[in-house]
């Protein structure tokens, strides 16, 4: 029996039928190539609302990147916002995109979301062109802006329920509560109208939404801007947890500290061009601020 085999991934995630009843309500859930992987190292049974296997970023580094831009170019009149940008974000990777205001970070995210059409090059999500099918691309993404915008007359729980339904996932109240508690929002605030929420609480709802929609990639636009250090730290922990679950994360930020702490790779974007792309081990002994300023002055 598959589900009694301790080496089978089904031991940890339930049979497809069980998952169907829990997450997909009878619809098949595309788990792609990950579903067949048995990992004896995964001993701890994960709650069913966490759909993704843990720690496979290294194992699948040679596979198709989750997020990719190939010579991506976007012009606004005579101004080139993104100039032949090529980058890749693998599953389980946190790619911090650093750059000054107007460097093209948000434009890059908009191109990956399909909100803008590139003038040249291509944005790819899981190997598929965003331009060709933006809806399908967005279905695999979660987007967390600088300020997660929610409906003020609804509670955090109701917002999460609504957004996750629109993201194609239906959850029970218990599951949603589990997700909100998982990101640090307890039942009482979860049932309060979000008009009373702090920015940190809104960002947590954003993360819960990424979990609820089982997003395979996360696009973050200045997510910690304006958060107090404790909230920022809490947010980073959640990001790392998501990355550990195999989610590819592209984070546009000014926050050098958070980039240094969280990112597995750091890219520096100046005037729409990627002037630096460093793996974590390449910058572990380097002062990131000095490196960034060096790129800026170059």
């Amino acid at each position: 029996m598959l589900d009694s085999d301790p080496d089978s991934v089904f031991h940890f995630y339930g049979t497809p039928a069980q998952r169907g009843s829990q997450w997909g309500r009878g619809r098949p859930i595309d788990r792609g190539r990950f579903i067949q992987v048995a990992d004896p190292g995964l001993k701890k049974r994960r709650p069913l609302v966490y759909p993704r296997p843990l720690n496979f970023r290294h194992r699948f580094a040679d596979e198709t990147p989750m997020l990719e831009t190939v010579n991506l170019t976007k012009n606004f009149s005579s101004h080139t916002a993104v100039d032949k940008l090529s980058l890749k974000v693998e599953p389980g990777e946190i790619f911090a995109l650093l750059g000054p205001n107007g460097a093209g970070k948000t434009t890059t995210i908009n191109l990956l979301l399909g909100f803008l059409t590139p003038d040249d090059g291509e944005a790819l999500v899981n190997g598929a062109s965003v331009k060709a099918n933006p809806i399908a691309a967005r279905r695999q993404l979660a987007y967390i802006p600088e300020q997660v915008m929610l409906y003020p007359r609804f509670s955090g729980m109701e917002n999460l329920d609504y957004f996750s339904k629109l993201g194609g996932r239906k959850h029970t109240r218990k599951e949603l509560l589990g997700l909100l508690e998982g990101v640090g929002l307890q039942a009482e605030p979860a049932d309060r109208r979000v008009s009373t929420y702090s920015k940190g609480m809104r960002q947590k709802v954003g993360i819960a939404l990424a979990l609820a929609t089982e997003a395979r990639a996360l696009l973050l636009d200045e997510p910690t801007s304006g958060l107090d250090p404790a909230a920022s730290h809490e947010f980073s922990q959640l990001l790392r947890k998501l990355a550990d679950d195999g989610v590819a994360i592209l984070m546009a930020t000014h926050d050098l500290f958070r980039a240094e702490e969280d990112a597995s790779r750091v890219g520096i974007l100046i005037d729409g061009k990627l002037t630096g792309d460093y793996a974590r081990n390449e910058i572990k002994d380097v002062d990131l601020e000095q490196l960034y300023l060096k790129h800026l002055r170059a």
Binding site: F115, A137, R138, Y143, P145, Q147, Y151, L166, G168
Partner: protein
């Protein structure tokens, strides 16, 4: 997905204090308007029944007199109040309620309710129809101007679209949710209207339910068109403020500007004659016919032909009273003149109404007003139907009196003759008649629904976040 969006919009609308307050105000205003109209209609119906009974009594008890004098004594007939004027009074305040039927003359309806109204009436009359025509669209504007433009401004649109929501699904879901929110507001109004209608006495009320249902349909089409326009503007406008400004301008153009402008233009293109000119011309033409009282050349010619036809040399030798025949012939000729003049005038008024209705393609209120009045039985076509029935009654009544003069040995008549003349009984036309009159307005509203919702579906894919 569309269902989820619709449900959220519905709940969100009712959680919005502005909508709740607006809805409550509209509900109270329309409820009060209908209650007052109901009282007015019930009182008016009682008054008219009482007046008709009194008039009949006067007629029967007028005593012995020359039958032709009874023709000049005349009778008043009263226009029944349409039951659905509880909802839409239409032209009723501006057209007469009473017609004086007498020999020789076709009179227009007189005693206009507007003439008896107080000065407050100059500020306009609040009816349920006016409330729905003017205030409900305003509420829709206030509810929907930010539906999509506001989402864009707040950043929730970016959040929604980033989830892979199709813009068309989003727009349709919003339209359904907001439409249902408005429908739940209108249902109590429909219930109040139905109760008011059910409480009215009279057999004609029973036939009004189908018209009432059609009225509901016409207003639903109108509000659906307004909803389509509002959401299209909200989809395309860069900001919620811009959407609000555009929609308020559209509301003012539809509710205030278009009705005045169109009626002025139509009056210029299809001018109606002045009342004094109309009556003078008609009098002149009547004079060219036979005068039953004063001898003239035409009368002498008619007398000569009559004597010749019967082979006699003097009117006293005729087997009937020549004076009675003269009256009959004089009425026949005058009726031809009246048919010509009133026919032309009424046709012109109907052409004007049709022109105003078809102008509804630029402002849907014009189409709705026309359909609403027609279905309520308070438009000009219904008034004409009554006027024609009253005139038919006059002609029959005068004919009976003149025939009495012609064949009776004694010119004097009494209660026996007066009773031979039945009381005026008017049966308002049925739903088919109302529907055929309302059809141009309904077509205009259908065109608006089709146009506005097509525009919305075309605009939806252009929905982009900031």
């Amino acid at each position: 997905m569309i269902v989820s969006i619709a449900r959220k919009e519905f709940v969100d609308a009712w959680r919005d204090g502005r909508f709740r307050w607006g809805a409550a105000i509209i509900l109270v205003l329309l409820g009060v308007a209908m209650l007052l109209a109901w009282q007015q209609v019930e009182r008016g119906r009682e008054e008219r029944v009482a007046a008709a009974a009194l008039e009949r009594n006067n007629w029967l008890n007028q005593g012995e007199k020359n039958s032709h004098s009874a023709g000049h004594y005349g009778v008043y007939v009263f226009k029944p109040i349409a039951p659905l004027s509880v909802f839409d009074r239409g032209l009723e305040p501006f057209v007469g309620t009473t017609v004086f039927l007498e020999a020789h003359r076709q009179n227009q309806a007189s005693f206009l309710p507007a003439q008896d109204a107080t000065a407050v009436r100059r500020f306009g009359e609040l009816t349920a129809a006016a409330g729905l025509q003017l205030l409900a669209p305003l509420l829709i504007v206030l509810l929907t101007f930010g539906a999509l433009a506001g989402e864009r401004e707040r950043g929730t649109l970016r959040q929604l679209l980033s989830l892979g929501v199709r813009p068309r699904d989003l727009v349709l879901g919003k339209a359904i949710g907001l439409g249902l929110a408005i429908l739940t507001l209108l249902l109590p109004i429909a219930v109040i209207g139905a109760v008011a209608l059910a409480k009215l006495p009279g057999s004609d009320v029973a036939g009004s339910w189908t018209r009432f249902a059609w009225l509901g349909g016409a207003y639903a089409l109108y509000l659906l068109a307004v909803l389509g326009v509002c959401l299209t503007v909200s989809t395309l406008a860069p900001t919620a403020r811009t959407a609000l400004a555009i929609l308020l301008a559209c509301w003012a153009a539809n509710a205030v500007l278009a009705p005045r402008l169109v009626s002025d233009v139509v009056q210029r293109l299809l001018p109606t004659p002045k009342l004094a000119d109309f009556e003078t011309q008609m009098r002149e033409d009547v004079k060219k016919g036979l005068d039953g009282h004063n001898p003239n050349e035409r009368m002498r010619e008619f007398q000569r032909k009559t004597l010749e036809k019967h082979g006699v040399s003097h009117v006293n030798e005729l087997p009937f009273n020549f004076r009675g025949l003269l009256m009959l012939e004089s009425e026949r000729m005058a009726n031809e003149v009246y048919d010509h003049h009133f026919g032309e005038l009424w046709n012109l008024l109907e052409t004007q109404d049709r022109a105003v209705t078809w102008s509804g393609v630029v402002a849907p209120l014009l189409g709705l007003r026309s359909a609403s009045m027609a279905l309520a039985g308070t438009d000009f076509v219904h008034h004409r139907h009554f006027s024609v029935a009253a005139e038919q009654h006059r002609r029959e009544f005068v004919k009976v009196l003149n025939e009495h003069t012609m064949y009776s040995k004694s010119h004097s008549a009494g209660r026996e003759l007066w009773e031979k003349l039945p009381a005026f009984s008017y049966k308002a036309p049925g739903t088919d008649f109302a529907l055929s009159t309302a059809s141009p307005g309904l077509i205009v509203l259908c065109l608006w629904v089709l146009g506005s919702w097509t525009a919305l579906l075309v605009a939806a894919p252009r929905l982009k976040p900031n």
